[in-house]
């Protein structure tokens, strides 16, 4: 009949994408989001660059203290012991002073004693030389060789203890901040839609599942985007300060972290949205979000403070709430077999599916109930099935 030529409504999936697009636009255009993201990225960059500047560069010298500093560094440069037969491989380098060594054993002992920063010894590999260091190879030296030399690290364990906790803390902090930050964002956006009643109009246009799906998708993209930006800035910082060798150690765990984060955040976002849909006013969100906050924070503290406990860490790397932090840490520590991240990811994805399904149920049944807080048993109970 006349006037009934309305457009065909989009599919649930397409509607969800439109909802996601609006969520992203609303955030990206808000000044507070832009400013807080900029500050966050600056803090990350500063956290990497400033310590390295204060210590006069990571390449300043061996770990030893006391008199060794004078012997191994000339000005700001470094001292390298060179076995005579490979002397010709190394050009004159500014900031690098060479000290002849009789043979490999001699050079090695000087590195161990801390009188030189590194030693250049003959090697059977394609480069023909090998660099022997206490902990991390000086980039001047590595860069000066046309063919990348083999590197032998004499004393990796001591350096690891410190770096281990820093890396663990880094993964943990990034996860916690993104989870809390974007979790709160999706919770807030859910309650605001309920409080302003725009949800009634939206639900006349989009099924509840599409709406929830769109919100989860939009906020997950934002969270993942910010996390990827943090990772990129961290890489940039490491390269700028010449610590790019760390990348070879954290690169793979970082990539895994991003994958785990993507799946793990979907799970968290669904919980935040479902919890928030139980209340009708921003002021009431505190109590309903608290259990979700604990679920985010407890695994984080377990991983950060229990990172020395291998059993705890192994268990945590399979629990969906803590896996996004625990598994990359284990990968970094080299404790996980190749199949373990895949298995954990399957567990996490299954957990996320279950949680999203439950969250959709809760959301669907509580999002139109205005006024007093809706209790979980009311929406998940048997009677609720007809709502």
């Amino acid at each position: 009949m006349n006037g009934r030529a309305a457009a065909a409504p989009p599919s649930e999936g397409r509607a969800a994408i439109m909802v996601a697009e609006r969520e992203i636009n609303a955030q990206v255009r808000s000044k507070s989001f832009v400013i807080s993201t900029a500050i966050l990225l600056l803090v990350v960059l500063a956290g990497i660059v400033v310590p390295s500047l204060l210590s006069g560069g990571d390449d300043g010298g061996p770990l030893g203290t006391g008199g060794s500093g004078d012997e191994t560094t000339v000005g700001t440069g470094i001292v390298v012991a060179v076995v005579d037969e490979v002397r010709g491989r190394l050009p004159e380098l500014p900031g690098v002073s060479l000290e002849p060594a009789a043979d490999e054993a001699d050079a090695r002992s000087r590195v161990e004693a801390g009188t030189v920063r590194a030693a250049l010894v003959p090697d059977g590999g394609p480069a023909g030389v090998r660099i022997v260091v206490q902990d991390s190879p000086p980039s001047e030296l590595v860069g000066a060789l046309t063919v990348a030399p083999a590197i032998e690290v004499l004393n990796p364990a001591t350096a690891d203890e410190a770096v281990r906790s820093i890396v663990t803390l880094g993964f943990g902090l990034v996860f916690l901040m993104a989870a809390m930050g974007f979790g709160s964002t999706i919770a807030q956006s859910t309650v605001v839609e309920k409080q302003t009643r725009v949800v009634e109009i939206l639900l006349s246009a989009v099924p509840a599942r599409g709406l929830l799906g769109g919100k989860i998708l939009g906020n997950s993209v934002l969270a993942l985007g910010q996390t990827a930006a943090i990772a990129a800035v961290a890489v940039l910082g490491l390269v700028l300060t010449g610590q790019d060798h760390i990348l070879s150690l954290v690169g793979a765990p970082m990539a895994w972290f991003v994958v785990f984060f993507a799946v793990g955040f979907v799970l968290l976002a669904a919980m935040f949205a479902a919890a928030a849909s139980l209340v009708s006013r921003i002021e009431d969100t505190g109590p309903v979000l608290q259990p979700v906050m604990w679920l985010v924070m407890i695994p984080y503290f377990l991983v950060v403070f229990g990172s020395q406990n291998d059993t705890l860490l192994r268990v945590a790397s399979y629990v969906p709430f803590s896996a996004p932090v625990a598994m990359p840490v284990r990968l970094y520590l080299g404790e996980a077999a190749w199949w373990e991240p895949l298995a954990s990811l399957v567990v996490l994805a299954a957990g996320a599916l279950v949680v999203v399904a439950l969250a959709a149920k809760v959301y669907q049944r509580s999002v139109l109930r205005m006024g007093a807080r809706v209790h979980l048993k009311e929406v998940l109970g048997r009677r609720a099935a007809t709502t």
Binding site: M1, N2, G3, R4, A5, A6, A7, A8, P9, P10, A15, M18, V19, R22, A26, S30, V192, E193, T196, R197, V198, V199, E200, I201, L202, L203, S204, A205, V206, P207, L368, M370, T386, T387
Partner: protein, 302 residues
């Protein structure tokens, strides 16, 4: 034509709707009248499909309403709501896109509708920057932006200034004249009386009266007549079957059946000139009061 057939719904032990049936006909404005908590919003939510019925059906043109059809309905909830921090035109275009319009088309529709409602200059302002009246106009626009196949508004006139009431009335008539059925609830019985073709009265979750406005007027009160004559009408009090409501010299207002009224008229003509004689239709407010009172009496008796 939208038909609601025997719809019931309980919340816990409370029966919110009890065997509710009525129709909204194409191209007509149907007023949905009832006190607070009578079941208007629950009925609307069931029509909209955001709430399920315990029993009964809702059909459009005789067919059950498919999900995709429901999405072409337009709805304005009683509690107004849009995104406060989103720009007006962008907001309407977003809603049109969710209903299936392409981006460019959606934007054009939003702007055309805003022009119709006199909001062109505010199109790119955030909603929260608009005056309350303009926010309410925007709210009406949100229900219309996709040319709904069925339009439903919960209290569209509450809190509107007289100018906005005029505009919204005009827009609702336009929508009905496009051919779509329009259902709206209101406490403002004078507006319903002026605007509606059909009226549905709900009380305590039950439909107590439904039909064309004029039929309801005729059916729900004893007919009243106004008579104005040259001579004194005091004698009318003595006519059997007549209840005089007002009497002042040559003017009287009385209730009676039609035959008796004709007797009064001929009696008056035999006594002199009759200047005026007309049936008086009761106002909707009076019908409403009467219907609700009857309902309460029934409840007390039960």
């Amino acid at each position: 034509m939208l038909e609601i057939n025997g719809v019931s719904r309980s919340f816990g032990d409370r029966k919110a709707l009890d065997d509710v049936s009525f129709t909204c006909r194409d191209g007509r404005l149907t007023g949905f009248v009832g006190g607070n908590g009578a079941g208007k919003t629950t009925t609307m939510r069931i029509i909209l499909g955001v709430l399920s019925a315990d029993a009964g059906t809702v059909t459009l043109d005789g067919r059950p309403i498919a999900e995709s059809t429901r999405r072409t309905f337009g709805y304005m909830p009683e509690e107004r709501g849009l995104y406060p921090k989103m720009k007006v035109a962008e907001q309407l275009a977003y809603l049109a896109r969710l209903r299936g319009f392409e981006r460019g088309d959606a934007d054009a529709r939003a702007r055309a509708l805003l022009a119709r409602l006199g909001l062109t200059e505010r199109a790119d302002d955030k909603l929260e920057a608009l005056s309350l009246g303009n926010q309410q106009r925007t709210q009406v626009a949100a229900a219309l932006v996709h040319d709904p196949t069925f339009l439903m508004l919960d209290e569209p006139f509450s809190g509107l200034d007289p100018m906005a009431v005029e505009t919204v009335q005009g827009v609702l008539r336009e929508q009905a004249s496009r051919g779509a059925p329009v259902l709206f609830s209101s406490h403002q019985l004078d507006v319903v009386e002026r605007l509606c073709d059909d009226v549905v009265i709900i009380a305590g979750g039950r439909i107590v009266a439904a039909g064309e406005r004029e039929e309801l007027r005729a059916a729900y009160t004893r007919p009243r007549y106004q008579i104005k004559a040259g001579a004194d009408l005091g004698w009318v009090r003595e006519v059997a079957g007549v209840e005089v409501l007002e009497l002042a010299g040559g003017e009287a207002l009385f209730e009676s059946d039609e035959v008796t009224a004709q007797q009064v008229l001929s009696g008056a003509l035999s006594r002199g000139a009759v200047l005026e004689f007309a049936p008086v239709r009761p106002r909707l407010a009076e019908i409403f009061r009467e219907v609700i009172e009857n309902e309460q009496n029934v409840e007390v008796a039960a």
